[in-house]
Every structure is written in C-alpha cells, then in structure tokens.
Symmetry: C2
Subunit: 459 residues, 2 copies
C-alpha cells in the first residue's frame, strides 16, 4: 500500500514536472517570438545612438540619456521608476588631438590617435620627443630611467589573435592602457602612446580609461591611444630609425565630480516581492562613437526584459528590477552606488544579470554561483538549446553588478559571440549601423528567458 502511494506520488511528480517543463518551454518560445516580431530594443537603441549619441559620464548627453531612460521606463508602466543620485568623474576630451611621426627635417606622417580617458593634456604647443617601444612593463623596467627619461613610451603589445575568447585577449593587454602612463612616468617618460585594443588592423584609435594611481599631479604625463595601423607604422619607422621624433598634442581635461544618476525601474513581485532580480547595463559610453555596442545594447536589452514581461502580461513572483548604471567606463560609481543602496535598504538580491559585451548573437551566459546554484542553473540549459544560447559557464559576470557580490547573490553576464566586439569597442565606429537587429533581440530574449526561470524557481 505504502509502495503504491509512493508510486502514485512519484508518477504525479513526474507528470507535474513534465507539465511544468512544457509551460516553461512555451513561455520562452513566446518571449523569443515577441522579442523578434514586436521587440522595442532596436528602436530604443536607434534613438539612444542616433538622437542622443555618445554619453560620457558628466556630459550633457549622459543626462539626456538619463531623462530618456526614465521616460521610456515610465512609458511601459512599471510599478516604480526612479533616479538614484550619484556623483561621477568628469573628463572632457577637448577639441584637439593630433600626432605625427617626424621622419626628417620637414618630413612627417600623421597617425590616428585619441586621448585616453582620464589623461591630462599636453603643453599647449604639444610635446615633441624621441620614442622608446616596449611590449610590457618588464621590458620597460629593463630599459630603466636612463633609456626612458625624456621620451615617449610606446606600448605596442598586440592583442593575441590566437585566443578564441576575445575578452581574454583584451585582459592580457589592457594594463598598458590603464597603467602604462603611471609606470612610464616613474622612469621620467614625457608621455605614452598605447596601441589600441583592437584585434584587426585599421585606422580607428580606441580610447578607454587610464589612471595615474597615486602618482603626484606634477609627475603625470599625457596618454594617447594610437590605431593598430598607426602602431604598425610607428614600429616599422622605429625599426628603420630609432632616433625619430614623435609629436603629440591633445587638450583633454579632468574636472571635479558632477552629479548624475542611475535609472531604476521595477515590477513588484506578487509572491516574494522582497526577493529582487536585477538586470542591467551601463548608460554611459565613451564619446568617440555613439556607444551602440558598449553599452547601448545592454541598456535596451535590459529594458526589453521588463517590457517583454509587461507585454506578455507575465506577473512575476519576485521583484524584477532594471538598472541603467551610470559611469561604468571611468569610475563604476553607478554600480557602487546601487550596491550601497541595496545594502543600506537591506534588500535581498537573489540574482543580478548584466549585458555589457556587445549586441551580438548570444552564445550563453557566465555565472558567479556556488556549486548548488550552478547545478540548478545548469538544469535549465536545455531550454536555451533551440536558441543556441546554451553555453553556460562559471566566470566573471559584469563590472556594474560586481559590487553586489556577497557570496549569496548569483551574478551573471550575457555572453554574445565575442569575435567582432573589439572591432568597435571604445572607437568612433561603435555606432548603430554596426548593430544587427535580430542579434540584439535574441540577446534580450535570452536574458528575459533566464530571468523568467530565476523568477519561477528562485535560488
């Protein structure tokens, strides 16, 4: 008798599980269909990219983007939309950035450069000096003050093209951009020229954040990125004549912090409103392009997750929140401020998802989770198979949600195909025309599907 009851319970739970799985599959199918046929992500990104444009923290455009984000979130009838105050750094590129290789008396070749974010200006007449080329800090240190003093340090370590994941290639080279100036200044360099973080050869210089660490103001030196073609040229010219002169002029400037905002919107959960699922990207961008991939895509995909639920009349069990973080690029103030807000309000974030790897075809997700959490997540992989977004692995999630890391909250990042990302990253060609509508929408659908499953099961 007992066995019979157990058998019936087992059968019932089997039937129940199958029925649930069928419901989830169907819901996810609806999410994808809605995103691809009636999605708003692409139109939103068109506006953000083309009508607002590049939106560096502290700029007027960044505040226009804040207002736009708030208005659009209000438009889709969320339960709550609000701005969170946050002070952000303000760096302005200025009106002039120019460089040339001086190959002889009256002979020079212009090369495409741009100031690195956070850099100081050159003297107003520009900076003329010899160049010493290095691949990394070890080479720099081996040269020592004697061979560096009074010169430009030219960091020319290329992103390794043999790696499959381009973000890995980025992580292996980005320190020459972020810390190169501080390292070279210690040895008396007058400026640094940094090879752009770009896997292909082209004429776009790629900007990005650099900082001087604790280097005193009077020791700081200007830092500029040079396009990959420019770097190849400069290196060739140096191999012919290592005594050539390089000229750099830029008038960028750092200002005191200014007020800005995170934009937050939410749908209140019905059953467990105190359990919060947050999805987001960063609203600020660099100023050379219009930040369509970095991170306009993540912004509109995150907004689309909530819009999809609203348009499908899906009432979540848990509270679903979208955060458009301010200042990921050069300060992470928005991410930090949001985590502080969550902490000081004793909020329980069970899951945070970020999209900040470009609007390309989604391949899956990366997770920061413990073993049992990742086991649960992995059991959902099959739902993503029909959409080829089922590559799940453990690893670093996203910068803006990093400050939420507490060992309990599961953090996750959307992982689109990474091959083309660094063709555009931080460069003037990171523009709306480099976005494929369907790829963008598939990313939003994958995110909404994952958020749906977390909402259904919790952790």
């Amino acid at each position: 008798m007992k066995n019979q009851i157990l058998g019936i319970v087992f059968l019932f739970s089997l039937v129940y599980t199958n029925a649930q799985e069928a419901i989830h599959s169907e819901t996810i199918e609806t999410i994808y269909s809605e995103a691809l046929t009636k999605g708003k992500a692409y139109d939103w990104l068109d506006h953000l990219s083309n009508n607002i444009g590049g939106r560096l923290s502290g700029s007027l455009n960044a505040e226009r983007a804040v207002q736009w984000g708030k208005d659009e979130l209000n438009e889709i009838s969320l339960d709550r939309v609000f701005l969170q105050d946050v002070m952000v750094p303000k760096w302005v590129r200025g009106t002039f950035e120019y460089a040339s290789i001086i190959t002889g008396p009256g002979r020079s070749m212009n090369v495409p450069v741009c100031s690195l974010g956070g850099s100081i200006a050159t003297p107003s007449a520009g900076l003329l000096a010899k160049v010493v080329e290095v691949k990394d800090f070890d080479e720099l240190d081996a040269l020592g003050e004697e061979k560096v003093k009074g010169k430009f340090v030219f960091y020319n370590r290329a992103m390794p093209v043999g790696l499959i994941n381009t973000f890995e290639a980025y992580s292996k080279t980005v320190n020459q951009r972020s810390r190169g100036a501080a390292m070279a200044a210690r040895l008396g360099a007058v400026g640094v020229i940094v090879r752009s973080m770009n896997l292909r050869l082209d004429d776009f210089p790629h900007t990005g954040a650099m900082n001087y660490g604790d280097l005193p103001n009077k020791l700081r030196i200007p830092a500029a990125a040079i396009s990959t073609n420019g770097a190849q040229l400069l290196s060739s010219m140096l191999s012919l004549n290592d005594n050539l002169d390089f000229y750099l002029k830029q008038d960028c400037k750092n200002f005191p912090d200014v007020p800005s905002h995170n934009v937050v919107g939410e749908i209140k959960g019905s059953d467990f409103p105190e359990e919060i699922i947050v999805v987001g990207g960063h609203l600020d961008s660099w100023d050379l392009g219009d930040g369509a991939h970095d991170d306009g895509a993540g912004i509109v995909q995150s907004m689309e997750v909530l819009r999809l639920f609203k348009s499908m009349n899906y009432q979540p069990n848990r509270t679903i929140r979208v955060v458009l973080y301010m200042n990921e690029e050069n300060g992470l103030r928005g991410g930090k401020a949001y985590a502080n807000y969550a902490k000081s309000n004793k909020e329980n974030h069970i899951f945070a998802l970020e999209s900040d790897s470009g609007g390309f075809s989604p391949r899956g997700f990366v997770f920061e989770a413990n073993t049992s959490q990742f086991e649960q997540i992995s059991s959902w992989k099959s739902y993503f198979e029909p959409y080829l977004a089922n590559h799940f692995q453990l690893g670093g999630s996203g910068a803006d949600i990093g400050p939420l890391r507490n060992g309990k909250t599961v953090l996750s990042g959307l992982r689109p195909d990474s091959q083309r990302y660094f063709d555009y990253h931080h460069a003037a060609n990171d523009t709306f025309d480099a976005i494929n509508k369907r790829e963008l929408e598939l990313g939003a659908a994958a995110m909404a599907s994952l958020v749906y499953l977390v909402d259904q099961y919790g952790f």
Copy 2:
C-alpha cells in the same frame, strides 16, 4: 589470472584512448592557432572579392576565378590539381533594370529592383501594367485568371522574422522567387515583382535563381526582385490605390550553355588513399556584389583546410580533396558533374563537407548520416566545445555535395551563425567589407578539425 589480464588490457586501452584524445585536442588546438595567426583565408578572399569580384557562371570573371583557384592550389603544393570540364548556363543581367510606381499623371516613385537570374527581358520600351499583390500561390489561385490577366503579380510574403534559424525562414518564402513567374504566367500575368528574401528593411534588391519549368517560351514573363523597403512602399501605395500602374524595364538575357570548370585539388592519403574526404564550396556567385559571403567564404575556407594540413606537415591517412564547384547558383552543374566523375571512376567518398552559409562565426555542423555514423560523429563534439562550434545536428548539408548522396557517404555542412546571412545574400552588399577575418578563420579551423577527425577514424 584471466581477470588480471583483462584488467591490464582495459587499463591499457583506457590509457591509449586518453593519450589519443590528448593528441587530437592538441592537433585541433594547433589547427585553430595556425588558422587565426597565420591563416590565408582572409587574404585569399580579399583577392577573390576585390580583384576578381562577382563571378556568375559563364562570365569572364568566373573563368578568372577558376584560373585563380587553380593557381593558388598549385601554390600550396598539393599532390594533384586539375580542372574538371562542365557546361554551365549563361544568363546576363544586361545594362538596365529600372522600376517605378506610377501614382498619378506625371507622378512616379522609383523603387530598387533587380532582374531575377534566368528571367527574360521586358519589351525594350518596358512594361506598364496594374499590380495585384499576393502572399502565396494559394492567394494567387484564388484570384484566378480574371483578376490576374494583364497585370503584374506582386509576391509580398516576408521572411518570417520569428524563426531562429534564418535558413528556415528562407525556405518558407523562396518559392515565390523560384516559381512565382511560372505560376503567375499560367494565369496571364505580364510580369512578377518579388519581395527580396531579406529579413531586414533596406534598399537592396536581392537576386537569385528563378525558372520557368516547362512553361513554353512564348508564355514566359519577366521577373524582378524588389527591395524590402520597396515592397513595403508598393504595398502601402496599393492599399491607397489598387488601380495604380507599375513600370518595369530590364534587358537581361539567357544564352546557350558555355564551357566552364570545377577546380579540384588533393593530398593523397598515406594509408587509405582510396578513401576520399572532400571539402568544398562554390566558386560562382551572383553578380550584384562580389560574392564574399556567398560563397567566397566557403571557397577560401575549403582551400584553407588543405593549406593548414600542408603547413602543419600533417600527412593524412585518407585522400583529402578540395573542390571549388562551379554553378551552384543557377544550375548546380558543377556539383552534378563532380558526383558523376566520382561515380564513373568508382571512387569511394567517405565524407563530403560543404561551407555555403556565409563566413560568420561557426556554431557547429549539420550531418546527413545514419545512426551509427552520427553516434561516432557525436562522440567528437567535446573537441569542438572550447571553440563553441559544438552544435551538431542531423539535416540537409549543402547543395553542391547533394549529388554525392548515396546512403553511405556522410554529408556535412558548416553551420555559422545565421542571423546576418540574409542581410547580404545575393545582394549588392555581399562584399568583402562584410567579412570579419576572425569569424572566417574560425570556420576554416572548425572544418579542418572535423576533416582531421574523419581522417583519423574513417567511418
């Protein structure tokens, strides 16, 4: 004692298997590294696209491509390179294709059109007629001769955007292009205008093959593609005034068949030279763009498979052959001729692989195989996981290798990400600049890895 021996045999085979797997993983790693760091695919495609360009069957460019393919294969020191004669259809676009919507006396709007491959010309003064819009052949038949006679039939069935695999969306709409004219001519239509097979809205008309079936010459009517934006406009105008006139003029022409060639190259196998593994794409392309994705990518990836083996000093066990098929687009004569050649020489093809889905990031492969063959193939999936090219499934492989289908030979197609393919397919923007170097190279590496495994194990 017996158990101990069995145990030792088991352990040995385990160690052997693990050692083999390590060797395969290492070889595949080398393949990827070589393709990404020293690959020739991208340079080859640059030449084929930019120095030769569009290469429609029967054109001078197609023969230039044949010569180029032969020369390049000779350059990499294969054991044998030869041309295979094949007669191909010759259709010439002519110098003029023009269409406009006549909205009133003296008022007209030009719309972007192009002749469909195989279509006849309009009368030299062009064709002016009313338009009837349909979505499919059922709608057409329901209208009947009375409402169709003397008019243009405008096929306006859009590719369904809700499907994940865009090739599936293509297969659901392409019959209006291939058979639309024949179907409409039966009912007395004077011409057909076909919405381009394109998932996005833009101004590029997409050409492609059409045929009249057994329709007598005197009943044949001209067929043109209209861009998706043009189709939207025409449909809107018709909804305002279904009595408007449409004007089409084109001077394309069919000629008798002309001689052309498949290009074949091979590396002789050391152990089983009579077992042939063939890899290929099609050398012909449409004439509007330069055929970089369709199928220049497949051509250079296939050539790269053999070049990689040569440069790695890998001596295959089986014979590895590359075929640059002629005339996939409008006749498939090359594929048929090659299969005939294989059959009449009693060759044993164990595996045929085609790349003809664009040079995008590879997601995996599709296979035509029996259960035990597919089981064996599936056991190799893990080798492709680190490269995210491990989506293996059963399904149709490729047009050119289709004629090799015999129930024994395993057929396979590279499956790149399909989202962007129909943005370019058969249109003027299918050009080299739409190719990402890394994505192209990753496809070649995935193909070489699969061919390597087949060469190691056979079927």
